[in-house]
Symmetry: C2
Subunit: 316 residues, 2 copies
């Protein structure tokens, strides 16, 4: 049997047909155009499913289930409760899809399914319990406990970006709280810290890299300049690495998993970033002689979204 | 069958014989006198076990297992790796006990076993997943996931007191880190905040309650004065309640359990404290229309230690 997965993003949707091991057989994609009625988005989604099945030379009766990763929260009835950047509230997504294709439909948060993909077919494949952190515009997470994706009792678990790590005088978060982890550990946080450094040091290398316009500074500018040894970029990078280490240590102190996986844009910094965190972790670890979770980079990249969504069919 | 539980504290050890439902049949206790060689502590522990069995009129062959809650960390071989206030490092506790009584011996952290007791025989009995927070000198936790006590992969999970909630300019913690949850949510934290208030307001009610000596101020002074409506004590209490709400919200954002249980000395403030947190939680909750964990007071009190230790025998 095969599985269909959909990664429903704010700008485009990617659809894949994968086998039970997570190997991609074929994929298709199309712009999301989220301003449209949801029925039109679903129609395009289904069109992509059939395109991908055709490319894969897989018949509809060979498909076990359909999974969808959404940048939001769904309930157990397949209703999307919130999906902010699509402007969705209480959208009956499962029901709408089943009007077109008569398969079991599983819906989960995009970070959850990316974490599930890394467990089912990626870097955390041989672990029992892992926490995947995606470091992008925000910070998301996917928690796998004893080989099962952990959604929580009310489907609101793994909102790791909104664990508060600065209760006093924290940065204001888009969620309305202050001091959330994602204000310190996202790509957005690196950019903020980089801009602050540029304002203090208008002649610095970072300022050159963004062509003198701090609004064009991105996380890669900072990481690349730090890799090259630039002192100011290194200062920014080290500050970011310290916060990220605190976030990783908080996961260890809470759940003590086998492995913590870093994904998302910032994780492309690779071993340079992983080693910066690994070096700092012993200082935060409570029990100096006891081992703790291995820290690894995600390996499925952008495809993790639809692979994990597809493989929701094997999490049941 | 019956189960023996030991709550090994720094000042005294309490031993109980309980049935599979956690009902106490008999108990015994003796001072710990932790300066002695561990073999002598174990000999006293075993003496208490036989005293409790005799009181309970339970024979040794009716005992299924022995469980011990320690203020520290044990490994899977029953070796106590750390137990700071007993001065223990790498003590083969299971082996030493089995020299005296030939039963399976389970050892776990005292907060873990208290959480387990509340799940197995207390307030969280009918839940699947719960997090117990003990608010005492420090802050400990016990996590139950799908009806099993969660020790983590390396036995270092549930160190909730050392989740960092103030990465920048946090209070120095006894563990060496700064900004740990227990610096803001323990009885010690209430006392610190109460003392700060007394220093600013030397004529306040709190100052009267501690007889003019801030070194004698305790958490109960603050909570009682707040219950009476004293403005300064209320200010301290509200500040504490805000931090505790952040800690509770962090548990929800991470694990989203069925129930969060508050135990330990501060929890004796009862509904006054619980309601202060319940009122504040909606402000921190990410998904305004979705429900989240119920917040409840622990109900087994000090006996939770040996009840939970005893019932480690049914967690296997």
């Amino acid at each position: 049997m095969y599985y269909i997965g959909v990664d429903l993003g704010g700008t485009h949707m990617a659809v894949g047909v994968v086998d039970a091991g997570g190997t991609i057989i074929a994929k298709a994609e199309t712009p999301t155009l989220p301003q449209r009625p949801y029925q039109e988005l679903v129609a395009d989604m289904v069109k992509c499913m059939y395109t991908a099945m055709e490319k894969a030379n897989v018949k509809e009766d060979e498909i076990a289930s359909v999974g969808i990763g959404i940048p939001g929260v769904a309930d157990r009835n397949g209703v999307v409760v919130f999906c902010t950047n699509l402007g969705w509230h209480d959208i009956p997504l499962r029901e709408e899809i089943q009007k077109h294709i008569n398969k079991p439909v599983f819906i989960d948060n995009d970070a959850n399914v990316a974490g599930w993909a890394e467990y089912a077919a990626g870097v955390s494949r041989n672990t029992d319990t892992s926490v995947f952190l995606t470091l992008g515009t925000g910070v998301g997470a996917g928690i796998i406990i004893n080989g099962k994706l952990w959604a929580g009792r009310h489907n609101v678990a793994a909102e790791y970006g909104h664990i508060i790590i600065n209760a006093d005088n924290g940065e204001k978060c888009t969620c309305g709280k202050t001091g959330c982890t994602e204000r310190y550990c996202s790509a957005t946080a690196i950019i903020r810290m980089g801009r602050e450094a540029c304002e203090k040091n208008p002649d610095c290398l970072l300022m050159q890299r963004c062509g003198g316009d701090v609004n064009k500074l991105n996380a890669k500018h900072v990481i690349d300049a730090a890799k090259e040894g630039d002192a100011i970029a290194t200062g920014v990078f080290n500050r970011y690495a310290e916060y990220l280490t605190i976030a990783v240590n908080n996961v260890i102190s809470f759940l003590d998993p086998d492995m913590i996986v870093l994904g998302g844009g910032v994780s492309h910094a690779g071993e340079f970033l992983l080693n910066a965190v690994r070096e700092r972790l012993p200082k935060y670890h409570m029990f100096k002689t006891l081992p703790y979770a291995e820290l690894r980079q995600a390996k499925l990249g952008n495809d993790a979204g639809f692979i994990g969504a597809a493989l929701l069919g094997i999490n049941q």
